[in-house]
């Protein structure tokens, strides 16, 4: 974790109303997680306790406290995708990905008429079947 970068992120948002979530997002983007050091620095800068910052960080599914070194594919597992076969596909994808790629559940990507759907980074993929999803997993 780069302390200068961390300070820059905190300084960028420090004066905003309710700065904590924007800071956590930027820290997660820059470092891949919000770890102990980041929590301490953020708490100090915003005049909060470490427990408070940790409590917020752990509440939200988006934030991690340790980085994920493997590539991540988010596969939608919500009802509209279930209706289009996402559950069977998810099982298949997890077998295919093994431990190399993380198949993470996401609950709706707002593409509910063209599922099953996935997101890699900010790239979206619709109408997935084994062939298409398999190619995505292999390319990661």
């Amino acid at each position: 974790m780069n302390a200068d970068e961390l300070d820059r992120i905190i300084a960028r948002h420090g004066k905003r109303e309710g700065p904590l979530l924007p800071i956590l997002h930027d820290v997660q983007d820059a470092f891949g997680c919000v770890d102990e050091d980041a929590i301490r620095a953020i708490a100090q800068a915003l005049n909060l306790s470490r427990a408070e910052v940790y409590g917020v960080t752990s509440f939200y599914h988006d934030f991690r406290t340790v980085p994920e070194p493997r590539p991540v594919l988010k596969l939608c597992r919500a009802e509209a995708c279930q209706a289009r076969g996402s559950e069977r596909l998810a099982k298949w994808a997890m077998d295919k990905a093994r431990d190399r790629v993380v198949i993470e559940p996401v609950y709706c990507l707002g593409l509910c008429s063209v599922g099953p759907n996935a997101m890699i980074g900010t790239d979206l993929h619709a109408r997935l079947d084994e062939q298409k999803l398999g190619a995505l997993i292999e390319a990661l």
């Binding site: 904590l20 979530l21 997002h25 988006d62 919500a78 707002g110 509910c112 008429s113 759907n117």
Partner: protein, 510 residues
Amino acid sequence: MRILISDDALALACGADAVAEAFAYAAPNAEIVRVSSWGMHWLEPLVEIDGIGYGPMTPTDVEAIIQCHSRESGNPDDAGARSDAQLDPRFHGDDIERLSIGRIADHPFITAQTRLTFARAGRTRPLDLADYEATGGWKGLRAAQAMTPVQIVEAVTASGLRGRGGAGFPAGIKWKTVLEAQGTRKYIVCNADEGDSGTFADRMLMEGDPYVLIEGMAIAGLATGARKGFIYIRSEYPHAITKIQAAIERSRAIVAPFDIEVRVGAGAYVCGEETSLLNSLEGKRGEVRAKPPLPAHKGLFGCPTVINNVLTLAAVPFVLAEGPEAYANYGMGRSRGTMPIQLAGNIKHGGLFETAFGVTLGELVDEIGGGTESGRPVRAVQVGGPLGAYFPRALFDTPFDYEAFAARDGLIGHGGVVVFDESVDMARQAKFAMEFCAIESCGKCTPCRLGSTRGAETIDRIIAGEHVAANIALVEDLCETMKSGSLCALGGFTPYPVLSALHHFPEDFR
């Protein structure tokens, strides 16, 4: 040749960028314009060439469409770089017939709609201020600028507009409360957390017509005396976030002194609940607050706050521009105006269908939606997201109306309609409803936090055939406890999908 291709996230997910690139390569003289989506999702990527629609397109179809289109138009120049060459005989009318849907504006899926909120869908460039202005943009804001706050609030009240986020609370009454609340600082908060499965209208609106939301928020500011607005967008919508941010920058001078900021959620469904959302905006855990105090009295940072869904705010410019009667003339009973309904799941013609309240569920699913995509019979339809009931065919005569759905133990919520074919296992759907509640619970109430986990386990036992009758009774009991012992609708309404599955599809619980 003018080629329109959507840059909506759903079109992109279906490969619209690759199609656009193929057109740029095959027809270098053509003007390629990226517009919003018409909302006919089964046809995406949908391409419009001189008014005629082709879809769903793949890059390999591009050459054929250009050749055939230029032959039809009699203008070989349309074929761009190949204008000097003979039209390739390999391409013929079959490709056009396969992909052409004729004039898009005349397509039955479009002509059957009443598009007030989505009037620009498919027709304009989302971030182009000239397009917005030329299609009546800012007319509502200008009208509001000539009115007193009380007059604006009265117009919104008279329109009958109710909150589109789920609860259906009258927007005018909420605004009036904030207008009358004492406070030097007030806020307008737009709820763009759109977490319900089967819904995407907020996303489409933010990506396709962002200025109409900004205009609606600025009007809400004038009506209540708020000078600052926040749009809280879920992190699963990166494209909407980018579009809205760009639109805010470009329209800053037009809505000044009103100022809008985007805030990004962090993957918590419960943060769509208004008080949880406010906590999240303040940088806290997204726990639900007890009411009272209402957000209208003590909302964001303790100040009077209007919190409305994207579609609620986006309906307001029409109300101010055309007058409240023009809006209230549509609809039935106490559900006035139009609802952007979202047809999703296993449905042949999925997409966005905006229509006056009153259309029946059966019309939506069978006629407009064309039944299932799989071609197998429709078995169940979940309306209103993960907290909405599962409806069997027997209830297909239910009209889309807040009260009519409530009378049948359902809800229209944010207008999502998710279709399942006969392969669905309703016991598994009931179990998922409980699991989802357990995953997303904010943790404040025991029936929601623990009851949901217990519920999922009990349904598992039913699926395994253990003490079925006793376990069904246990699930029903648990549902009653969740209904009465939950602070918000996550715990309080999860029983709806569970009990509706149990009552309408008992054969799946044996």
